[in-house]
Symmetry: C2
Subunit: 244 residues, 2 copies
């Protein structure tokens, strides 16, 4: 395994950081790596918000499902899908321009997430820990206001980055599914057995698994944050496509 592959394998989410700051040069290297990511038609369909205001970090730690470690993370980045830049310039130089739609939103979000993951890989290579905060897609109306987002700019990914504590460095990475379970050949294979996959991954027998999956469903699917994410993402899509 080459050094880059080793880094991809060893990278795990880090939610506790030392007091050491991330230097301006390090931040710059993260942003440069993000910008070098593949991007549809070289359009760079995103804007990265570098959240440096402590009060705003604290506010986001509350609005993103109440996760206090966001408030004290050395680097907090909000990756926004951004078609505003292009749509405005298209309108300025062309008489007929179709309205932004679901396809543009999903394409811009793809660009955004690809750039965010380059940032994560870059951070790992520099000895920095990172964690995605999916909850940035909740509370759309509030985040739009807090971050001053115009139309066609929507929160898509959030990263917190810093130097990992020793405890975080030694924390084991959660086991993943097997390649055979997730990679299918040519067509979708409906015979894969998810209960089996999970029992194997979590090392649980049937009785323990039944208990585990009920709790997991409650925590990740039937939960308040998940219901809010559903509502908010619908609002994001409707707002983006409102003129269509």
């Amino acid at each position: 395994m080459n050094a880059t592959l080793s880094e991809l394998h060893s990278r795990k989410s880090v939610r506790a950081f030392t007091a050491e700051t991330v230097s301006p040069d390090q931040k710059r290297a993260l942003f440069e790596a993000a910008l070098q990511a593949p991007t549809a038609g070289n359009m760079t369909l995103y804007t990265i918000l570098d959240i440096t205001d402590p009060a705003l970090k604290t506010r986001l730690s509350e609005t993103c499902d109440h996760q206090p470690f966001i408030a004290t993370a050395p680097v907090v980045l909000v990756f926004c899908a951004d078609y505003k830049r292009w749509y405005d310039v298209f309108c300025r130089y062309n008489d007929t321009v179709r309205k932004p739609s679901a396809g543009d939103l999903l394409l811009a979000q793809a660009d955004t997430l690809i750039a965010a993951q380059n940032t994560v890989v870059a951070a790992e290579s520099m000895g920095l820990g990172s964690c995605y905060i999916g909850d940035i897609t909740e509370n759309y109306e509030l985040h739009k206001e807090l971050l001053g987002l115009p139309d066609y700019v929507v929160p898509t990914a959030m990263l917190v980055i810093g130097h990992p504590t020793d405890q975080q460095k030694s924390r084991p990475k959660p086991p993943r599914f097997a390649v055979e379970d997730v990679v299918h050949t040519n067509a979708y294979d409906p015979t894969k057995n998810m209960a089996q996959m999970l029992k194997k991954r979590q090392e649980l027998d049937e009785s323990a698994f039944a208990d585990w999956i009920v709790k997991f469903c409650k925590r990740k699917w039937n939960s308040d944050f998940s219901i809010e994410m559903s509502r908010s993402c619908k609002a994001i899509i409707n707002d983006f496509c409102k003129k269509e």
Copy 2:
């Protein structure tokens, strides 16, 4: 700049491959790297379809905006956002399970794209070239049938991978925007001037730029593929959220 950062910087899209095959061990390394990517709640909300059937590759080269190089690419992967696995197992073990929604779709698509980008980074580290095919989100109904996708499994990203030709290796990477243009501090900065950003990046004066942006808009926004992507992505969202 460390070696990983250098790879992120040098990586560019490769659309022409030598006849050399990608070995089973190399493919396995790509899949292992994908699976090690960050994933919300360790849920691995995607399935990777490894397209090995030459007839299916040819069909996809037609349905993905007629790009013949897809048909002859050594590795063709379709990354599908997949909440079916989890939703089915939730329903089997729980009496009350909310219906899949826009939030679940966007979260699963984020997982999918993050894993796809790990694959791209892994490929680059192994000397393999890669290219995203955004057009896999077009023709949803047809792709659903061709790939045998059940409900709650939707095409999100496609990658072609292989050994780059010498011509592709020496092709210059298109210039990106400057960090200062794409990274804003705390709130969205509406004063950034996109026409200026583009003129600088493309090294164009006002007159040449006006011509460039009109052509670009025609090719990337008012174009047939883009109109189809708009239609198809709306169908993806509606299909995923139909029981909500």
